[in-house]
């Protein structure tokens, strides 16, 4: 008897779970707006961003040279600066005013001014100063001009030093150049490129934001079309909280597993972004991330009253979220309470963990903190999702009952 009861219970639960799953799947693929956010945007945006940043670094920044020395040595200096990959000498100007006018017209982004006494100073064994005037309309211009000139001045210095030292062997020359040598190693993003740095973070953020947008759109539609504008309609099939939550969540999860493979597996390969992570590790890491963003999105969707409002509310949040993740502005320079706020969003942990695994080749143990945090978020947002849904279901029932009573009362009045 009892066993029969449970058998029937499970069968019925499963049936209504399947019903909700099917219905949600249909809702997703019948709604062009949701298809746009679930399917098109996660593929289109990464391609767009990758093509914007595809050159990775800036090369051949145009500069103007004002060479007051006009000596063999100063011309050598200018030639060497022109030969660096970072800077190209667009014009040798007669005076600073001419060069300044070129900066104002944005024809050049910096001025290299070699003083009149340049080669005389060096011949006399005195220090001489080359002045750089950088247009600060972008930090990368400044960086390129500074790096090129510093490198050239260091090699020139080494040459001068060696010439004066009067060494006898090449080994001595080498030591004179640098008593203690140094090497600098750029890890994980050897060219110091913009795409390799920004895109892995953007990819994760796009997954989260599009999921929230799509789920919000679905919730808005549900509330617009359902009777009484409730998120969850009062129907026979919509009994049982867990069935509703799991039925819907499974739809989103299935779609986003596929989207993750495209966004995190295929796109980085096409645009040759760093991808040294172990795919299995990434898969393990993404499991709690996808769960967390799904339940996070479902919790948030309870706030959406109208379909299109979700675009107004969610889109702009992407920019602060990217900053909160600490990927561009260092997290160690962020005030503590902002860091606390950042823990609310799955993207913070998702971005950091994914960058560590995918770009830096970390294993799961290295991102243990992020991984655990994502599991905690999954659990918390699952609970909040259940609570809000339960509240919505109860409210819908109360409202329906009240309406039913009112209708009956009015009918009785009419009959009476």
């Amino acid at each position: 008897m009892i066993r029969q009861y449970y058998a029937r219970y499970w069968k019925e639960s499963f049936r209504s779970f399947l019903y909700i799953f099917n219905r949600e799947m249909r809702n997703v693929f019948r709604d062009e707006g949701v298809i746009l956010f679930f399917i098109v945007v996660p593929v289109f945006y990464p391609i767009l961003y990758s093509s914007i940043y595809t050159t990775e670094t800036i090369r051949e920044v145009p500069v103007a040279v004002v060479d007051d020395s006009r000596s063999a040595l100063s011309r050598e200096y200018v030639r060497k600066v022109d030969a660096t990959p970072d800077v190209s000498v667009l014009r040798v100007c007669a005076n600073l005013d001419e060069a300044r006018e070129m900066v104002r017209r944005r024809e050049v982004y910096g001025i290299v001014n070699i003083p009149r006494s340049f080669s005389a100073d060096i011949a006399r064994g005195q220090q001489t100063r080359v002045s750089l005037f950088c247009d600060m309309s972008g930090l990368l211009y400044y960086k390129a001009i500074l790096v090129a000139n510093t490198d050239v001045s260091l090699t020139l210095n080494a040459d001068i030093k060696i010439a004066r030292a009067g060494n006898t062997t090449a080994e001595q020359d080498r030591v004179t150049e640098y008593p203690i040598a140094y090497t600098s190693v750029n890890l994980y993003n050897p060219q110091g490129g913009m795409a390799s740095f920004l895109l892995p973070a953007v990819l994760i953020l796009i997954l989260q934001q599009t999921l929230i947008l799509g789920v919000g759109l679905l919730a808005g539609t549900a509330r617009e079309t359902n009777r009484l504008h409730e998120l969850i309609p009062v129907e026979r099939s919509h009994h049982g909280l867990l069935r509703i939550v799991f039925g819907k969540a499974l739809v989103y999860l299935l779609i986003y597993v596929a989207q993750s493979v495209i966004a995190l597996g295929v796109i980085p390969r096409i645009f040759s972004l760093p991808q040294i992570g172990n795919p299995v590790t990434i898969a393990f890491f993404l499991a709690p991330f996808l769960l967390a963003i799904t339940f996070f999105a479902m919790t948030l969707s309870a706030l959406i009253r109208e379909r299109e409002n979700v675009i107004l509310i969610i889109v702009f949040a992407s920019v602060p979220l990217l900053f909160l993740s600490g990927i561009s502005w260092p997290a160690s320079a962020m005030p503590g309470w902002l860091k606390l706020i950042s823990y609310i969003f799955p993207s913070t942990f998702g971005i950091n963990g994914f960058v560590h695994i995918n770009t830096m080749g970390a294993d799961l143990l290295d991102v243990r903190g992020e991984w655990d945090a994502l599991w905690v978020q999954s659990a918390v947002y699952f609970l909040t999702c259940c609570l809000t849904f339960r509240y919505k279901i109860l409210r819908a029932r109360v409202r329906t009952y009240r309406l039913y009573k009112e209708e009956r009362a009015s009918r009785e009045v009419r009959v009476g």
Partner: protein, 386 residues
């Protein structure tokens, strides 16, 4: 006159009925201002955690470490026993970089054998990486110089002679108008107006599209006496006023109160902000006139708004982009606003050098005028598609 008043009244009632208007026009912009002010409160990032692997363990290597620690931007957060331990810490994200002094560095330097120190920088955090790189390279140059200077002093050179010998050519760098090398100058002054632009264009498309969605478009046109220009103008004026006020709050907050560089004076930036608000409304109307579906036009506004943070050239210069994309950046109002800001406020050049950008913002504001007949047709005839 009465018709205008009735239209205005209708508009205010619509705005008052939907809390989302107030969220997008007032709460969200203020929240964004607060966010960026707080985020960058501490100024330039300082004391970035780096690691140290010192296998040499001599007075010299310790003095290198101490000096590195004393740099403003770098803090030695941990000492590691070997390189692979440091690498793991880097992968975990504990440190942004580490400095490696191998065994025998001091001995090698004393014996003139040219030992090599190295530093490893995690460039997947580009800004933190670049900042620590500068300090570590500087430190290595100094260490090398210090060793050579010791030899020179031992040979009896004076300090002036030693410096002239070590560094015959010195760089005198003048980062004009941003001597602090403050990245925040680019971030806050572009991202905040960019967000404002995003809000403006989205809300413009939203407010036009909801007329079709609610099925009130015909009533709206009838009240405007069948004139689409009048209908749209009256719809957008209240939003313009609120957004302009928000823009003015931003300009005053950033240039008058927080004293970001503003060489052109506040009125010019207020003028640029006015043009930006108009351009945003023009962009929203333009997209709605081209794609009279609420969802599509809002998606286009979102796309334009979000992508413009990249195409404005604030962090990654337009010059370095693919030539085709360089041309396309002209289609983003934020790009023009950014150039106006750089030209007038940051560099203090006469506005004529940015004349084209002022004109371009004006074009964005005026562009929808060409599509008014189409807009009228679609407002009257299109049905809402979810």
């Amino acid at each position: 006159m009465l018709a205008y008043l009735l239209l205005f009244k209708r508009e205010f009632l619509r705005m008052a009925a939907r809390p989302v208007y107030w969220f997008v026009m007032v709460i969200a912009p203020l929240g964004v201002y607060a966010f960026f002010v707080m985020l960058m409160q501490a100024g330039l990032p300082s004391e970035l955690p780096v690691g140290l692997v010192d296998l040499d363990n001599t007075a010299t290597s310790r003095s290198i470490a101490r000096n590195l620690d004393a740099f403003q931007r770098t803090k030695i957060a941990a000492h590691y026993a070997d390189v692979s331990e440091a690498r793991r810490a880097l992968q975990r994200g504990d440190v942004y970089a580490f400095y490696y002094i191998p065994r025998g560095t001091t001995r090698g330097a004393n014996r003139q054998e040219q030992p090599t120190v190295s530093f490893y920088i995690n460039y997947s955090y580009l800004i933190a990486g670049s900042l620590t790189y500068q300090d570590m390279r500087m430190m290595s140059e100094l260490a090398s110089g210090a060793a050579a200077r010791r030899v020179l002093y031992a040979k009896g050179a004076t300090e002036g002679q030693a410096m002239a010998y070590l560094q015959p050519v010195v760089m005198d760098t003048h980062p004009i108008s941003n001597p602090w090398l403050n990245y925040n100058i680019y971030l806050s002054n572009t991202i905040v107006p960019g967000m404002l632009l995003l809000f403006i264009s989205l809300l413009t498309a939203y407010s036009l599209g909801t007329e079709i969605k609610d099925g009130t478009a015909r009533e709206w046109m009838a009240l405007a006496g069948g004139s689409i220009k009048r209908a749209v103008t009256v719809k957008l004026v209240p939003q313009f006023v609120v957004f302009w006020l928000m823009g003015a709050v931003y300009v005053l907050l950033f240039y008058a109160y927080l004293h970001f560089p503003c060489h052109c004076g506040i009125p010019v930036m207020l003028g640029a902000m006015t043009l930006l608000v108009l351009a945003g409304q023009g962009l929203g109307t333009l997209f709605f006139a081209l794609l009279p579906s609420l969802r599509m036009s809002m998606s286009m506004c979102a796309l334009w708004g979000v992508v413009s943070f990249s195409t404005c050239g604030m962090s990654f210069p337009v010059m370095a982009m693919h030539p085709a994309i360089q041309g396309l950046t002209q289609l983003f109002p934020l790009r023009h606003y950014f150039l106006i800001y750089i030209n007038c406020a940051l560099d203090g050049f006469p506005w004529q050098y940015a004349a084209w950008n002022f004109l371009a913002l004006f074009f964005f504001a005026a562009a929808p005028l060409l599509l008014m007949p189409r807009l009228k047709y679609s407002v009257l005839n299109y049905k809402y598609v979810p």
